[in-house]
Structure formats: C-alpha cells, structure tokens
Amino acid sequence: MEIQKLKELKRYATIIRKDIIDQVYSAAAGHPGGSLSCADIVSVLYFKEMRIDPKRPHWEDRDRFVLSKGHCSPALYGALAERGFIPKEDLLKFRQASSYLEGHPSMKLIPGVDMSTGSLGQGISAAVGMALAGKLDGKDYRVYSILGDGEIEEGQVWEALMCAAHYKLDNLTVFLDHNGLQIDGKITDVLSPEPVKDKFEAFGLKVIVVNGHEHQQIVEAIDEAKKTKGKPVMIVAETVKGKGVSFMENEAGWHGTAPNKEQRDKAIAELDDLLAKLEVE
C-alpha cells in the first residue's frame, strides 16, 4: 500500500474517533470503548476496501457491511458521514428522538446501513444470509462483518459460523474486535470464549490474526481473505478498547458511558494532536 493511502486511512480513523466522541458526548449516552477499538477496521473498509457508492446506498452489486456489535454504531455512523452517506452535522443528533440515528443501526432509517443490528449474535447470521444470496445469484460482491469478542459468547454466533463454513462462504470476511473487555469486565473473567483462534479454526474458518490498529496489517489480511477459496475468513483483530483516547484505553468502564464536557474536550484535544502529527509525518 502506498504511504499516502496509509496516511489517509490513519487520518480517517482519527476523524472517525473524533466523530465517535462527539456523538456519544452530544447524546450523553452510547458506547465509546468498543467504537474506538474498531475504528481502524471500519476506516479500512469504508475508505479502501468496500465497493460502495454513497449516491446508491441500495446498489445491488455493492459490498455489504454488517456491524454485528451494533452498539458500536458511532463508529459506523462516523464512517457513513465521512464517506458521504449522511450529513456530518446529523451525527450530533445521535440517539435523539428527532433524529434517524438510532442508538443501534436501523437499515430502514439510515442510508448505508445494510442490516439492522443491536441484539448481539444476530448480525453475523444476517451477513451469512447476504453471502448465501451472493453465491446463489453468482454476484461478486463481498460481505464484511464485525463481531465483538464479548458477543461471541452468544450461541447464535457459532450457529452462523458453522453455516458459513458448511456453505463455503469465501465471499464472507468477518472481523473479531478482540479487545478483551465486555461490560462486566475481562471476557476471560465473565465467560471466557478463549482460545478464539482454535475455536474458529475448528469451526472451519481460515483465521488470520492482526494488530487491529495497524492499517497495513488489516489491508493485507483482507487481501489474503479475498484470495481464499472455499471457506470464510475470520480476521482476529487484536485491539485496545477505547483506543486513541488515553484515559479510555483498556477501561471496561468506558464500554457504555458518555464523557462529560471536560472529558470530551480532553479526548478531542488528544485526537487533534494525533491528526496534527499525521500532517507533518
């Protein structure tokens, strides 16, 4: 990947992180921790990988994206705004009664949202359904989905993965946002889904492990996924919950808590610093 493209992806990821903070702050509710941890994956999908057109959100041949961890909608909405699907100013109406930006993604209300999600474990099944439809129709679109690592405690996730492998859905690429934390604490303390890599492999998926904040690694993993034939690919993205905001990093408490004004300003200042550094790099 060109240096310029890499820089652009880093910049978009940082802007999406700022969008996340401002959405959750203006709503005084939402989920900053897991939104920040998947921001780099989302930026690669929306600004490099996916074949999408903001003018045609229902384009039949588009690539699909299902945010199975639907509570991280601020990351998705940030990407949709920066990509031109929705006006950026609408982000500040996130979760408000007058707005279409529901707490969890609604495909009926929001241009660019391919599936309504929020109830954990279901998005991945919907992605499987889209991939099955693509195979049936002989279409070459690809389907992407992001699972939370707490989310995979849901049994339905494993039904979906079994199905994806059975039907050899090599047009499906799934990310595990492996940040190690869920609402009540460490995933290994709450109800450990580990070892995730072994389990995914046992379920018939090809597994690629990457640093989920390194755009280069994410891009390379997707390239490999595209070349993989006969099985779906799981990209286990090792991530940090709250990534990019120093006081939110690795704190389960920031799973579903909004920052106050002071915290918001501090977070935005940190992310602005990062943007400034990217400019001079």
Binding site: Q122, S125, C163
Partner: protein, 315 residues
C-alpha cells in the same frame, strides 16, 4: 366422504406450484420431510437451503437474504419458529420489515403424539404482537395454497400457521378467492356468532350443524388473517347477533379470542366467550383424543354456543 389434506402438505405443494421465480428461496431446519419443504427441494434443489438444527441462525440468515431482494420461506415447527427464534423474528425480520415468510408447521395440539414440548399453543399471541407482521392461520388446503401465493405477492414478514393433521377441505379450489385481512362469512345466521380459525373452522361448521338441528342458526366467520384482523365483519356480527364465541386451537390468552375481544370491546361491546386451550400445556395422545380432552370438538363448541345464547337471552 370429505377429502382431508394436512395444511403442511398444501404448503409444500404451493411452494412448488408458485416457486418458479428465482427470487424465492426456501430454508428449513432439518425438518423438510415433516414441513414438506422437501417437495420444493426436489423441484428446485439449488434454491433450497438446509440450515440445520439452528433456528436462530436460520431466521436471521433469512433476513439477510431477504435484504438482498430474495423472498425467503423459512420453515420449521411452529414451536421453534415462534418460540426458539422469537427474538430473531422480532429484531431481524419484523423491525426492518424484511421479506421473510415463516412457514410454521405442526402448530397446536393436533401435533398429537409428540406431546407438549412440540405443541405450540402460544404462537398466534407471540406473532401478532410484532409490528409489521402479518399472521395467517389457514382453515384448509385451499386456503393454504392461496395464502402462500399471497405471501409471495405481498412484501413484508408473514407468519403462516400450519398443521400436521389431515383436515377436511372445506373450500372449493375452483371458486375460492383469498382476500388478505378479510374474514370469510361461512354461514349467515343471526342467533350467535362463532368466530374461528385454522382447523377449528371445519370443527365449527360441524358444530353449526348440531346447533341447526336444535333450531339455532349461528353466524360462522372464518378469520384466516389474524393480523390485520377484519374489524368490519366482527363489528357487524356483534351488532347483528349480540354475542360472539371464539374457537381456536391455541391458548385462549393472546390468540384469536383476544384479538376478537379487542375489536369488540373497543367498538361494540357484546358478550364474548372463548373456546381454546385453557391456559395449560398439551400432552401426548392421538389428535382426536386430545381434541376431546381439550374441548375442541363440534359437540363442545355447540354447548358453549348454547350457553352463550342463554346468557344473552337472560340479560
């Protein structure tokens, strides 16, 4: 001799008959021999997907496919379609109003020998409370065929409630017209109204014959579309007959009886009595034995209609 066909058989045949469109996909959860989706599988193997014993995934994957412009029939026993996968049906199918048609077979106690674990008596209640959901409970094979055709032609989520037991064919296929959301006037009496659905329509027709022998002329209304329900036919019946009996192979809580009561109480209050499963689980047994045990016979329907008529006269 009246011809008897199980509505699940009619469902399987209708999928084949109307299933030529490439947009139609049929999913099943390892019950294709019982739900009769195997008929579709034989005809259109490339558009049949066995999703295994994983109903939650099946319902949501059906939603995902429907989002890609498919008309997806998802079939399993009504117990698992409405119960096991309830929240998937709610959040992934009904909330986004996707084009998934749930072909739910083996509803009610006439499942028979499998017993309570497999006899859903709650599914109408569970499904009709969901926004965007259309709920159909066909009375016979002819109505089932028409319901499948209508479901294909009508955008949005459908729940089609079907049975295991062979039941009398009461409609004539040649002149039958299915109107979604419209009740069917089966007989035009004015003494008392009996509103029924599913297999209970043919049981009620038999009850009507018993009542007529005693000089009582019931109005019989078949409600095949539980949601949206035909308010007009119910209000008119309440006004003209002054009492309504509901009959269903379902709990008396939340099903047809409740749906009818809601309409009557709000618009034209008259006495309503409900015949159905009286807040208890089913059990193993032959369907005919169970129908007697649970009071879903023509004789019991006639008795309840007469009781209602008496209480109306004594008012």
């Amino acid at each position: 001799m009246v011809k008897k066909i199980a509505t699940r058989d009619a469902y399987g045949n209708a999928l084949v008959e109307f299933g030529s469109d490439n947009k139609i996909v049929v999913m099943d959860a390892d019950l294709s021999k019982s739900t009769k989706t195997e008929l579709f599988k034989k005809q259109y193997p490339e558009r049949f997907l066995n999703m295994g014993i994983a109903e939650a995934n099946m319902m949501t994957a059906a939603a995902g496919m429907a989002s890609c412009n498919k008309i997806v029939f998802a079939s399993t026993f009504a117990m698992f379609a409405s119960g096991r996968a309830y929240e998937q049906v709610r959040n992934s199918i009904c909330y986004p109003a996707l084009n998934v048609k749930i072909g739910a077979t083996h509803a009610g106690i006439t499942v028979g020998e499998d017993g309570a674990s497999h006899q859903t008596i709650e599914d109408i209640a569970l499904m009709r409370v969901l926004p965007n959901m259309t709920v159909i409970s066909p009375a016979d094979a002819v109505e089932t065929r028409a319901a499948v055709k209508t479901a294909i032609e009508t955008d949005g989520p459908f729940y089609i409630r079907l049975g295991r037991l062979a039941v009398p064919v009461i409609n004539d296929e040649n002149d039958y017209k299915f109107e979604l959301g419209k009740g069917v006037l089966v007989s035009e009496g004015a003494d008392v109204t009996i509103v029924c659905t599913g297999y209970m329509v043919s049981q009620t027709i038999e009850a009507g014959k018993l009542l007529e022998k005693e000089g009582i002329k019931p109005r019989i209304i078949n409600i095949h579309t539980i949601k949206p329900i035909d308010k007009d036919i119910l209000i008119k019946a309440a006004k003209e007959t002054g009492a309504i009996l509901t009959v269903e192979e379902h709990s008396i809580i939340g099903g047809l009886g409740s749906a009818v009561s809601e309409v009557i109480v709000e618009n034209c209050p008259v006495p309503v009595k409900r015949v159905g499963i009286n807040d208890k689980f089913g059990k193993s047994g032959k369907p005919d034995e169970l129908l007697v045990m649970y009071g879903l016979t023509p004789e019991n329907i006639a008795i309840k209609a007469k009781e209602l008529l008496e209480s109306k006269k004594n008012k």
